[in-house]
């Protein structure tokens, strides 16, 4: 029977020299593709939200966020507006368009805790007009 010579005189190694490059490439990829939410002057800081105990998580993909600031400025889709009369229907029109796009939309309020309720009431009236009835009031978790 013929013998097959196996040459075992060399060590087999997987080259690991480029591992660092791969890891840095991954890091760069995530750095380049990460998109930060940019809302500069209209941001209602998290510590300005009201506190609540019975909060629930809301799936992000179906939400539209309305910011209501202490000075009663309303921000939807980066467009600031105020509701001062019956003719100010920007919120209503924008929400009708959103509802047509996604019938399951949830409107999230990020409101400064010291905002007067009148401003919120006006916005909610427009929500009812636009038939976007599911709302969520964003709040910080209160300690038990």
């Amino acid at each position: 029977m013929a013998k097959i010579n196996r040459s075992r005189d060399r060590d087999i190694e997987i080259p690991q020299g480029s591992m660092g490059d791969i890891a840095f490439l991954l890091l760069l990829f995530f750095m380049v593709t990460t998109v930060f939410v940019q809302e500069k002057q209209f941001w209602v800081d998290r510590d300005r939200w009201p506190q609540a105990q019975s909060i629930e998580r809301i799936p992000r993909n179906n939400t539209a966020t309305i910011y209501v600031m202490k000075n009663e400025t309303i921000l939807l889709d980066d467009v600031p507006s105020k509701i001062e009369s019956e003719e100010d229907v920007y919120v209503k029109n924008a929400l009708i368009a959103k509802k047509a796009e996604n019938p399951e939309i949830v409107v999230c309020f990020r409101t400064d805790r010291e905002t007067k309720y009148g401003a919120m009431s006006d916005v909610m009236r427009q929500l009812q007009d636009a038939e976007t009835l599911v709302v969520a009031f964003e709040a910080q978790q209160k300690d038990q």
């Binding site: 690991q16 020299g17 591992m19 660092g20 791969i22 890891a23 840095f24 991954l26 890091l27 995530f30 939410v37 009201p50 506190q51 609540a52 105990q53 019975s54 909060i55 629930e56 998580r57 809301i58 799936p59 992000r60 939400t63 966020t65 209501v68 949830v106 999230c108 309020f109 409101t111 400064d112 805790r113 010291e114 905002t115 007067k116 309720y117 009148g118 919120m120 009431s121 909610m124 929500l127 009812q128 007009d129 038939e131 009835l133 599911v134 709302v135 969520a136 009031f137 964003e138 709040a139 978790q141 209160k142």
Partner: protein, 142 residues
């Protein structure tokens, strides 16, 4: 005078741990990144009545056995049904709601907030209602 310089051996920066450093960086960013998760109190607003001209929507009169009025005043005090306005702490509010729900499982809680009251006062009351599993909550203003 001659100074002899030793030039034996190659000078090299060790790069074997670069991968470890990069992966540590990735792990650090992965663990510290906080995604913007939405958390809040969810409510479903009532639909607008077709002819909701001023006042027309309030045609049904409900007694105290079916509906509890929680009227939030400008200063944060609460008028419970027809009682005098007073500050109600969370614990007391909880027990009032529990009692009302025991009286009637389908009790409607009507939260009427003054236009000049603060938003957080309304949230506090709605939060207590939600915490006590009250399901029929209506929001309005005066």
């Amino acid at each position: 005078m001659n100074i002899s310089r030793k030039r034996k051996g190659k000078v090299s920066i060790p790069t074997a741990s670069t991968a470890d450093i990069a992966f540590l960086l990735i792990v650090f960013f992965m663990s510290t990144t906080k995604f913007d998760v939405k958390e809040g109190i969810k409510l479903v607003l009532p639909a607008m009545a077709p002819d909701s001209a001023e006042g027309k929507a309030e045609t049904i009169q409900l007694g105290e056995d079916k509906m509890t009025r929680l009227q939030i005043q400008e200063d944060g005090t609460i008028i419970l049904n027809k009682e005098a306005a007073r500050h109600i702490e969370d614990a007391e509010l909880d027990s009032i709601i529990q009692q009302k729900l025991r009286e009637n499982q389908d009790m409607i809680f009507r939260v009427i907030t003054d236009r000049n009251a603060q938003y957080k006062d309304m949230i506090r009351v709605v939060d207590r209602l939600k915490a006590q599993k009250a399901e029929k909550i209506s929001l309005s203003t005066n």
